[in-house]
């Protein structure tokens, strides 16, 4: 057990930090309320993505044969930590890079690999994910989007919701029912769909914060060639689970690093409002710190298991669950700190937005209820409860 970076890791981290210091437009730092939506400018994200790729930071863990650097997950973890701390944009094709690309590597055809992988890395192709539907939220096996076979084509009709990056994406990894006779997990297929095809409509979903990070995608008789199927007709459930497994890989490092930034801002807000001497506030700040640290070191423990066994340890199954609770508590505390007696300032706007946004944390990417089911069933060995 050695909890310090190895020499190589430390070098990689230092190089990345240096690069980020130049590549990321000046941060406000944790002491000043940051402007909201600083990465809303798509052109800026595109140019940052190009720079990332040029500097060799796209596809760190992808095999070299597919344009990656073949590094261990520890480097990806460092990358995620440092970019989150620097408040850099994400690679514009983060869904392709983290989820769809690895799925194509694992389950895709040679042609699919050649066609998509290089352009995912550069950011030329931007993927989104089309899994959830209005009636299939936590229960993905209830998808109703249909892909009907007609000759060499599949004809897709249905509606997908909660798709991140869909407003930027030109492609979608779609889960659809190809065999309407079959039910639940059977008869599903995953398709790589070009969103510029006729019949596709993308509409932003306005969230309670007022922003629209997600979109709904409507497919009205959209024609997709048969060779867009990943891993074979009827193999959709397995492919989708591969995709979701990648979602949960080292994502905890991003979440935790963002929570670390939020924690520093919480402390800054407490100081700015003169609340850092209030014993109740101090107690709460310490409690939030303990939660943050618990996530940080559990991420690292999970990474050690991943490095040794190829699968993350069972303890990583609680990271997203606990992160979402910790983030909600942190933003709730922050809004309470804003308190009375002072004029609204940048922190008011910032924390109110963060607080409202954080309510989705226990819903998006697996609801807390579903995650507790999974821990109870798969880790603790309890009977299925739903």
């Amino acid at each position: 057990m050695d909890l310090r970076d190895s020499v190589e890791e430390a070098q990689f981290r230092a190089g990345l930090r240096e690069w980020l210091a130049g590549a990321v437009p000046a941060n406000t730092g944790p002491d000043v309320a940051p402007p909201l939506g600083r990465w809303d400018d798509t052109a800026a994200v595109r140019s940052f993505t190009a720079a990332l790729h040029a500097a060799g930071y796209a596809g760190l863990t992808w095999p070299a044969e597919y344009g990656g650097r073949g590094l261990s997950p520890a480097y990806q973890a460092i990358y995620l930590e440092e970019t989150a701390r620097a408040e850099a944009a994400e690679h514009i094709g983060v869904i392709g890079l983290g989820m769809v690309g690895p799925t194509i590597i694992a389950c895709g055809s040679t042609e699919q690999r050649a066609r998509y992988l290089p352009r995912i890395l550069t950011g030329e192709i931007i993927f989104c994910q089309g899994f959830s539907e209005p009636e299939a939220g936590s229960d993905l096996s209830a998808v109703r989007t249909v892909a009907r076979r007609e000759g060499d084509e599949l004809v897709v009709t249905g509606r997908k919701v909660w798709s991140s990056y869909a407003h930027l994406a030109d492609h979608c990894l779609l889960l659809a029912r190809t065999d309407p006779q079959q039910r639940r997990h059977r008869g599903l297929s995953c398709l790589l769909v070009d969103l510029r095809s006729p019949g596709v409509t993308v509409r932003p979903i306005r969230q309670m914060t007022g922003a629209a990070e997600f979109a709904e995608i409507e497919f009205d008789e959209v024609r997709v060639p048969l060779d867009a199927v990943v891993g074979g007709i009827g193999d959709g459930w397995r492919v989708a689970m591969t995709t979701l497994a990648h979602e949960r890989g080292t994502f905890g490092f991003t979440l935790t690093a963002r929570l670390e930034v939020a924690f520093r801002r919480l402390v800054a807000t407490a100081r700015a409002r003169g609340r850092d001497t209030d014993p109740l506030v101090r107690d709460q700040i310490a409690a939030r710190y303990v939660e943050l640290e618990g996530l940080r070191w559990t991420n690292r423990r999970g990474l050690a298991a991943l490095a040794r066994t190829g699968v993350p340890g069972p303890e990583t199954s609680v990271i997203k669950l606990r992160w979402s609770q910790a983030h909600q508590r942190l933003t709730t505390l922050a809004v309470q700190l804003l308190g009375a007696g002072a004029e609204p300032d940048g922190w008011d706007r910032y924390w109110r937005h963060q607080m409202l946004r954080s309510r989705a944390n226990t819903i998006e990417g697996g609801t807390s209820e579903v995650l507790r089911n999974l821990v109870a069933e798969r880790v603790l060995g309890l009977p299925r409860s739903y």
């Binding site: 109740l280 309470q336 007696g341 008011d348 989705a360």
Partner: protein
């Protein structure tokens, strides 16, 4: 000992519920006239009756300035023999002043040289100063202002319509845009006396008790509405082949919320009753207790409801977030829940 509503009280409540169920009444310019016609400003309404109205207004998350008029401005206007008719509000908070209305009262009482009230009355009766977090000032016709006169802090009346468009910050920054708070700059604005310096602290103490008792009732309404939506959705939304409410993970938090809402309701009614029947320390305790319980119930019910609705609960289109914003407003007005608990501990431990 009888904790039941009278038939008249039930009728008042049910009429209010029916009137407010009509969405038109929430935004229409006629609303104030209609509420007046319904008798919601009548001087003979007791606190229990007012609390029942506040609860229904919370259930509907009404944007009406009724609470600011009755709860905040009302006591000073009545003390001056001018019971509220037009929309009104009270401006007491100042930058760097005490955090709560009770704190302001205490500061006023402590020393006439205290800087807690920076707004001053000139010899000609004009006011100059700056007031923050004034609720519903956009709608107000009458603005009651705490201001330092030659003999101490007094309450004075300003024609709020004369201030337009001076109120700054309304709307945009507000967590709950339907109950905006604004900063009001007063620069030599004419005013008339309402309550003299020797009576101001007493009137403000009554104001706090009444305004908070009504807020607790409003919070119960907010909580009950969120819980009602969540229960309805849980009973009908299907996932994994059954209504989601068949999952204890969904059902039990709603059962807990129900317990919070109902105990808060008991406390809110009791506080309203106590404000009139037992004015003084008992009522102060009752009001603080009800506010802690009801504000927490409103926050928890809204959060449970958003979680129950899942993805759709998080959309702008789903109305839940409007109630959540109101719950947050309630949770932080005139002190956070922690502030109120601190004050309550003082009454319990230092008496």
């Amino acid at each position: 000992m009888d904790f039941a509503l009278t038939g008249e009280q039930e009728t008042l409540r049910d009429t209010a519920a029916k009137y407010l169920a009509d969405d038109r009444s929430l935004s229409d310019g006629q609303a104030w006239t209609e509420m007046t016609d319904l008798g919601w400003l009548d001087a003979e309404l007791g606190m229990v009756e007012l609390a029942l109205l506040a609860e229904q207004l919370g259930w509907a998350r009404s944007p009406s300035p009724w609470w600011a008029t009755i709860g905040l401005a009302g006591p000073a206007l009545r003390a001056a023999g001018r019971p509220p008719g037009a929309p009104a509000t009270l401006a007491w908070a100042e930058e760097n002043g005490p955090g709560t209305l009770a704190g302001a009262v205490a500061a006023i009482g402590r020393s006439v040289a205290d800087p807690a009230v920076g707004c001053v009355v000139a010899a000609d009766g004009t006011l100059t100063g700056r007031k923050i977090r004034v609720p519903n000032v956009d709608d107000a016709v009458d603005l009651v202002v705490t201001a330092r006169g030659p003999r101490g802090v007094e309450l004075r009346l300003v024609d709020a319509s004369a201030l337009r468009p001076a109120p700054a910050g309304a709307g945009g920054q507000a967590l709950d845009p339907t109950r905006p708070v604004a900063t009001v700059e007063l620069t030599g604005v004419p005013s008339v006396p309402l309550v003299a310096a020797d009576a101001a602290a007493d009137v403000l103490a009554v104001t706090r008790r009444r305004s908070l008792a009504l807020l607790a009732a409003e919070a119960v309404g907010v909580a009950a509405r969120a819980l009602s939506w969540a229960s309805g959705y849980a009973a009908t939304r299907t996932q994994f082949g059954q209504p989601i409410g068949a999952n204890q993970a969904v059902a039990h938090p709603l059962a807990e919320s129900y317990g919070q809402v109902e105990t808060a309701r008991s406390l809110a009614y009791r506080a309203a009753w106590s404000v009139e029947a037992e004015p003084g320390p008992i009522a102060d305790r009752a009001v603080l207790t009800a506010n802690v319980a009801a504000r927490e119930a409103a926050m928890a019910a809204c959060e449970a409801a958003i979680q129950t609705y899942g993805g759709s609960g998080f959309t702008w289109e789903q109305p839940l977030h409007h109630w959540y914003r109101r719950a947050w407003w309630l949770a932080t007005y005139d002190g956070t829940v922690a502030d109120l608990r601190g004050e309550l501990a003082g009454l319990l431990l230092d008496g």
